[in-house]
C-alpha cells in the first residue's frame, strides 16, 4: 500500500490528477477491497496529493490561485448537482459517455502536440472577450464585454492570457458533475480544459488542477466519512505513500520535459478511456 500509494502520488502530482485512477484499481484488484471503501480511501489520497503538491506549486507561484478558485466554484456546484442526480442515471451510460469524452480529449492533445506549439502560445481568439471598441454611445453589451475582458486579465498569468472563460465554466461544471457521479478527482478533465480551451500552459494547468481537486475531494470525503466508508487502517498507509510520492513529484515536475508530461497525460487518458469502456460494456 505504501509503495502503490507513492507511485500514485508521483503520477498524480506530475499530471494534476489525484491519483485515484491508480489507487482504486490498486485497492480493489490488488487488495480485494470493495469499490466503495476503495473510493473513500482514494478521496483521502486525492486530498493528500493536492495539498502536498499545491502547497509547493503555490509557494513557487506556478499554480494560478485566482483561476483555480474561480473554476472550483463551478466544479463544486456541478458536484453538488451530480451528487443529487447520481442515482437517477445508469452508471453504464455515464461510463460510456465518459470514455468518449476522454478519447476525444486524448486525440485533441495528440493533435495539439503534432501541430505548432503549446496552445498557450496560440493567438488569442476569445469567443467571449472580444475587445469592444469604445464608442461615444456605449451599449450595455459593450460594457459587459469590457467587464469580461477585465475578469480575464485578472485571471491571467504573467506570461499567458486566459481565454474562453465561458467554455471553461461549462467544462468545470461538467467536471464537477462527472466527479460526483463517477468518483473521480476531475483533474483528467480540468487539465485539458485549461490547457486546450483556455490557453493555460500545461505546467500551470497541472499545478492549478492540483489546487482544485483537493477541495472537491474533501467535500465528497466528508460524506464518505459520515457514512463510515473510510477505513483508517487502509487509508493511513496509502495516504503516507501518496504524500511521499506527491512531495517528490511536485519538486521534480519543473525538471521534466513538457513533451514527456503531455505524453504521460495522453497515456493516462487513453488507459482511463479503455477502463471506462470496459465498465460500460460489462
Amino acid at each position: 500500500m505504501l509503495v502503490g500509494g507513492a507511485a500514485a502520488g508521483v503520477f498524480g502530482s506530475l499530471l494534476g490528477l489525484g491519483g485515484g485512477v491508480l489507487i482504486v484499481p490498486l485497492l480493489t484488484l490488488g487488495f480485494g477491497l470493495d469499490l466503495r471503501a476503495a473510493v473513500g480511501v482514494s478521496l483521502v489520497a486525492v486530498i493528500v496529493t493536492s495539498s502536498a503538491s499545491a502547497g509547493v506549486y503555490l509557494e513557487r507561484n506556478i499554480a494560478n490561485l485566482r483561476l483555480g478558485m474561480t473554476l472550483e466554484l463551478f466544479t463544486a456546484m456541478g458536484a453538488l448537482v451530480g451528487g443529487l442526480v447520481a442515482f437517477l442515471i445508469e452508471e453504464r451510460v455515464l461510463a460510456f459517455l465518459f470514455a468518449i469524452l476522454l478519447g476525444y480529449v486524448a486525440v485533441s492533445m495528440i493533435r495539439s502536440r503534432a501541430g505548432t506549439a503549446d496552445p498557450a502560445d496560440a493567438p488569442i481568439e476569445d469567443d467571449d472577450a472580444e475587445a469592444a471598441p469604445a464608442t461615444e454611445s456605449e451599449s450595455p453589451l459593450d460594457e459587459l464585454d469590457r467587464h469580461r475582458s477585465r475578469i480575464l486579465r485578472r485571471l491571467s498569468g504573467d506570461d499567458y492570457e486566459v481565454r474562453n472563460l465561458g467554455r471553461a465554466v461549462v467544462g468545470s461544471t461538467g467536471a464537477g458533475v462527472l466527479s460526483a457521479l463517477l468518483g473521480i478527482g476531475g483533474g483528467i478533465i480540468k487539465v485539458p480544459l485549461m490547457h486546450l480551451a483556455m490557453g493555460v500552459p500545461i505546467r500551470v494547468a497541472t499545478a492549478t488542477s492540483n489546487l482544485m481537486i483537493g477541495i472537491t475531494a474533501s467535500a465528497s470525503a466528508v460524506i464518505y466519512l459520515l457514512r463510515g466508508e473510510i477505513d483508517p487502517f487502509v487509508a493511513g498507509p496509502t495516504a503516507i505513500g501518496v504524500f511521499v510520492g506527491a512531495s517528490f513529484g511536485s519538486r521534480v515536475a519543473h525538471r521534466i520535459d513538457l513533451k514527456i508530461l503531455r505524453a504521460l497525460f495522453v497515456a493516462v487518458l487513453l488507459y482511463t478511456a479503455a477502463q471506462m469502456l470496459l465498465k460500460a460494456l460489462s
Binding site: N61, G214, S218, V222, P232, F233, G236
Partner: protein
C-alpha cells in the same frame, strides 16, 4: 513587477507555506499511527474502527494507532477547506472582494453538499 503582483506573490507564498505545514502535521499524525500499526502487527486489511470522536480522544491518550490515524485523517480532510478560508481572508485583506466572494461561495456550496448528503442519508 508591480506592487500589486508583489503583494499577490507574497500572499500565495504564505498560503503555500500554510498548506505545506498543515499537510506535514496531518501526515505526521498518520505516520505515527502507521508505525504503531506496524509495531503492533496490525494488518491494514484487519478492518479499522469507525469514527467515534469520543473514542479518538481515548485512543490518543492510550497511544493506540486508531486515535492517531483518525486525527490525521480528519486533519487531511480539513486542509483544503482551511485553504479556501485562508484564501478568502487573504483576498479580503488584499482588497479583492470579488475573489473573497468566490471563496465564500465555494464554502457555501461544500456546506450545502454535506447538509444534503446528511439529510438524504
Amino acid at each position: 513587477m508591480t506592487e500589486r503582483n508583489r503583494v499577490v506573490r507574497r500572499f500565495e507564498w504564505r498560503l503555500g507555506r500554510l498548506l505545506i505545514a498543515a499537510t506535514y502535521i496531518a501526515t505526521t499524525l498518520l505516520g505515527i499511527g502507521v508505525v504503531q500499526m506496524l509495531l503492533a502487527g496490525i494488518s491494514p486489511l484487519a478492518g479499522g474502527p469507525e469514527l467515534d470522536l469520543g473514542r479518538v480522544v481515548a485512543d490518543l491518550l492510550a497511544l493506540a494507532p486508531a486515535g492517531f490515524l483518525w486525527l490525521g485523517l480528519l486533519a487531511v480532510i480539513a486542509t483544503p477547506v482551511s485553504r479556501v478560508i485562508g484564501a478568502a481572508v487573504g483576498f479580503i485583506r488584499g482588497g479583492e472582494p470579488v475573489m473573497a466572494l468566490v471563496a465564500g461561495a465555494i464554502l457555501l456550496v461544500i456546506a450545502a453538499g454535506v447538509v444534503s448528503a446528511v439529510a438524504t442519508g
